[in-house]
Symmetry: C2
Subunit: 337 residues, 2 copies
Amino acid sequence: MAITIKDVAQEAGVSVASVSRALNGHASITDDTRKHILAVVKRMRYMPHVGARSLTTSFTNTIGVLLPDLYGEFFSEMIRGIDGAARRRGLHLMVSSLHGDADEAALAIRAMRGRVDGLLVMSPHVDAAFLSDNLPEDLPIVLMNTAAGGTQYPSISVDNYNGAHAMVAHLVAGGYRRIAFLAGPSGNFEAQERLRGYRAALSELAPGAAEHVYEGDFSEQSGQAVGQALLEMDAGRRPDALFAANDMMAIGALLTLKQGGLRLPQDMALAGFDDIPIARYVSPALTTVRVPIADLGVRALESLVAKIGQPGSVPASAQTLGAELVARASTGESTPT
Amino acid sequence: MAITIKDVAQEAGVSVASVSRALNGHASITDDTRKHILAVVKRMRYMPHVGARSLTTSFTNTIGVLLPDLYGEFFSEMIRGIDGAARRRGLHLMVSSLHGDADEAALAIRAMRGRVDGLLVMSPHVDAAFLSDNLPEDLPIVLMNTAAGGTQYPSISVDNYNGAHAMVAHLVAGGYRRIAFLAGPSGNFEAQERLRGYRAALSELAPGAAEHVYEGDFSEQSGQAVGQALLEMDAGRRPDALFAANDMMAIGALLTLKQGGLRLPQDMALAGFDDIPIARYVSPALTTVRVPIADLGVRALESLVAKIGQPGSVPASAQTLGAELVARASTGESTPT
DNA sequence: CTGAAAGCGCTTACAG
DNA sequence: CTGAAAGCGCTTACAG
């Protein structure tokens, strides 16, 4: 067994209460006893059992983070934001990925009870009804990029609709007319909003133009598949621009189209969404909509901390972060890179 | 307050012991009482306090993961491996980044006590002496990519030395003679090993050739800086190949050199180390040494689980994973991408 | 099969 | 200032 506070107390010849007080910088303790105790602590290499402490103080200094995945450029950026904000406040992170269905999400949420002070959740499966069924009622939560926000639970999301709208406007302004859209997974809220933005902008700004929507799933592979399909079309019927609902699909298409001999953007313009780091590195560099991913994480954590600080008193609100168009070479801009 | 096991017991008209047994699938309980209890649990939406459970059972089903950073392609891949292996075993992850110095690492390790069953640590500041000072002695640990492995603590690392050696061999075989090396941070064990591999291979395979070592810090910026310096050299004195100690630096140099008008690999060959996802996407695609990053994470987790299962009985061992050369266009190979 | 009680390692009023 | 004791929410021998 490891050394406990009791061992330290015994060794130092004091009560466990005094050890606790010395350790936690309590005022009511003599300098001498504190020094003596801390010396013993050091000598014995005692480390407090944080789990036990949490049980009595009822706070854990830990935030639970539930994301669809823990890797890939998008989530990596998100984690960067969350981690930075958390460490600034001395908070630890308990993370979990949510690959599966709603049941798995429920399990993951439940597993957090008693180990975290609050929860940051991003999941397409999570809506208000689900949460009220599975969330311990006393556990603060902030949702990210979800359809469930603003009603009972605070949320923070990116303005996907206007971001997509702006991209279509940019393409139309660049002279492109046959603008195809490569959609994300249909069950995904963000994917839906981006598609909605594409449709609205197209009918507003290019009234005559027909919609071309390809199905995708946010993966590079689905971008490659659509790239392949485009290569096999008659050049005459082919769209002159492809707007993918995220960067990874755009990049999959880019590689396939280039390999198939198309010149980008002369034969086809290409655009994505997210502005993940890779977007700048491909050639031509990818025009995209910059989502302040890390920022989103920072803001979400800050909101959560605020909510933990004053439970109940903060009304559920839905924050939205703007998304900004980043024009690069894949839609004809001459960029230094 | 949230609902506790006591509330459930009272509501169901049984003892807390019975509730506990029903919840944990204990054998000695009637079907009827179990069903009744579980019904009450469901109706009250009770969720066990996992922290309290840990205190009595002394296991947490959680693994602590300490990495220099939580984001970027390298760590993202690492986390992917660890997360996958952990979820397969029903383990949760508590993660922490270790930006700072040894003190910060010590703090992070201590903060894990009582919340995790074991620790996965990757940190240049961690050596055997440090660990024996700061690690609770009953806490299993596995080190990754560290100099401290194999002695008192098990470790698993990549064969950086031979990987770098192989890359130099590849460059020499390709006809390159003035092969410069862009080193990583001097305090970093992996960086040291890669440098050592470069030096050894150069003197073995190209006896007459002089070493050219540039200092870097693994960041893209330091790659750009060296790229700039190379551009400003006389073409005659310029190295004909640059081997960077990691991919991000290689990519920084690649972008800068290209922008400066150099043709790659005709004017200069370029190679990296790690094979992060971006390496395939830049053009020319980057020749590199593939480090099985996710695999490293998987193996580390598996070792840790084994150690947790049989404390003390497993001798400290140092596993090494091979690193494989991946030849792409940046050193002259004609690759499809 | 079921319950009362001790105990996990801490913290914190409550006395003194 | 210091200590004895209760309590945080669980689990698990120990009786019955």
